[in-house]
Amino acid sequence: MSGTAKLRPLPGEFNPLVIRAEAEVAHVELCDVDLAFGRRVVFEGLTCRFPRGRISVIMGGSGLGKSTILRMIGGLQPPDRGRVLVSGQDTVGLGESAMAQVRRKLGMLFQNGALLDSMTVFENVALPLREHTRLCADEIAHQVHDRLQAVGLPDVDDLLPGELSGGMLRRAAFARAIVMAPEILLCDEPFSGLDPPNVSRIEVLLQHLNRALGLTLIVTSHHMATSLRMAEQLLLLQDRSVVSGAPAELAASRESAIAEFIGEDGAEFLARHLESSPQGSKP
């Protein structure tokens, strides 16, 4: 069974994004990866590429391993076989200290935030700066407040993570993930459990980071509308393998599994979205 079913653009349809994505260098790449938890095979021969400076959204039902892909990229979950390339460097089998060097390029937003319970929000966001830079206290405070402002949390400095609501927690974690200005940002379900204003706030923030700083974004989500709107590359996880392509390609796909997943609503939405901005989401 082939791991990847790379869809070609349909005849007569022109999508500049697809062509650009294919020509581009992959910033992160998984090659022929196998992974099983005990007897449960999660991936078999999984291959996928995440192009530099693009927003890739991984979609798929729960239990198919969306988060696991992010964990493999972050080196938290070694694959049983295969290679995981970050900026061309194979990270499988690296020691903790070598992996730490790779991780400096990575930022990760965990689904439940993963903020340290025993520290205030300010200390949590300041932690990477205190650990890895020699900035003075004022400069750190400035940067932390800058990030907290950006995610819309101006007055939570002295609160503990336990005192925040789920949405605030996620945004605080987001501030921490971007405080070191990573090249690659891995976001595990950044929109789940957020109210609509915060969904669009995070969405705008992600797109801004991507455009202004050229950040490579790898996002898992089952928030259909946002994913389709944001994604420059969409990866649909199916049982043990993945189908990838630009949203428009996938939406137009006749393959039943894909059509079923995206659904009529999604296809309709996408059609409308693409109509209103034929160039996609890129300026």
């Binding site: 964990r71 972050g74 080196g75 938290l76 903790e96 992996m99 730490a100 060097q101 991780r103 400096r104 990575l106 930022g107 990760m108 965990f110 689904q111 439940n112 993963a114 903020l115 340290l116 319970d117 025993s118 932690l127 990477p128 650990e131 890895h132 921490r176 070191m180």
Partner: protein
């Protein structure tokens, strides 16, 4: 027919593998202690959590054990007309055995289990992975200060326990049962030797502290990342550390006698 034997073999291999992992973990924690930056603030916090918050428990337990020892030993000694030796009997049993061992067991229940639960729940809520993704080694940041804290705290608490135990027995012996205050203390001072008794006591307490720090942090670090796993790990810390402390006590006592 060979099934049970094979299972036994698999079990033995799993146990030995677990011990191997624990040893590697101890090495990592030890290296983390030597590696900069020194996490003095986190060590202080760990000493606060496992030491300062245990003071009341240790003092109350020490005094109670002293009171009971005073009564029981007075009863026994008076059968031989040797009530005056109460100070000696209480002091030696507290210093050589009861102080370090009971402190070890109490701190295991009070602070060791808490360390396991904290590290375990940090693992369950992906906080350890979060640290890793920030290129911060969780062994250096989370585990090492707590292990070191437990190891530092144990001899201090054990000495406090002994002090309060001797004080408790003094209350019973001198204030209640009417022994001579001077002879209680002077007998005690004459009977206790620094190298034989006090040093042994301190070495025991330090070894128990290191054992507890090791076991408690390992159980938390290696626990299964969910609520049930954390509660299992916490129980297992109390059981394993208690048994290890008692075994180590025997070994140290036997070695010291040689």
């Amino acid at each position: 027919m060979l099934g049970p034997v094979r299972r036994l073999g698999a079990l033995a291999v799993a146990r030995i593998e677990g011990l191997g992992r624990m040893t590697v973990f101890l090495g990592q924690v030890g290296r983390a202690m030597l590696r900069p930056p020194v996490r003095i603030g986190y060590v202080v916090r760990a000493v606060y959590d496992s030491g300062v918050l245990s003071i009341a428990l240790i003092c109350a337990s020490g005094a109670t054990v002293g009171l009971v020892l005073g009564l029981q030993l007075h009863n026994t000694l008076s059968r031989f007309g040797a009530e005056e030796s109460l100070g000696t009997a209480v002091g030696l049993s507290l210093i050589r055995e009861l102080g370090p061992v009971l402190t070890g067991l109490l701190v295991t229940g009070r602070a060791g289990s808490a360390a396991t639960a904290e590290i375990g729940s940090m693992k369950a809520s992906e906080q350890l992975d979060g640290l890793r993704m920030m290129a911060i080694d969780p062994i250096h940041f989370v585990v090492m200060p707590r292990a070191l804290g437990l190891a530092i705290v144990m001899p201090l608490l054990s000495a406090l326990f002994i002090f309060f135990g001797i004080f408790g027995a003094y209350l019973i012996g001198v204030e209640v049962l009417g022994l001579d205050a001077g002879s209680y203390l002077s007998r005690l001072e004459n009977a206790v030797d620094f190298r034989e008794d006090v040093l042994q006591s301190l070495v025991k307490a330090s070894v128990f502290g290191i054992l507890l720090g090791w076991i408690a942090t390992w159980r938390g670090y290696a626990c299964e990342p969910h609520a049930v796993g954390v509660s299992r790990a916490t129980t297992s810390t109390v059981v394993t550390a208690s048994v290890c402390i008692l075994l180590a006590d025997y070994v140290l006592t036997a070695l010291w006698g040689v």
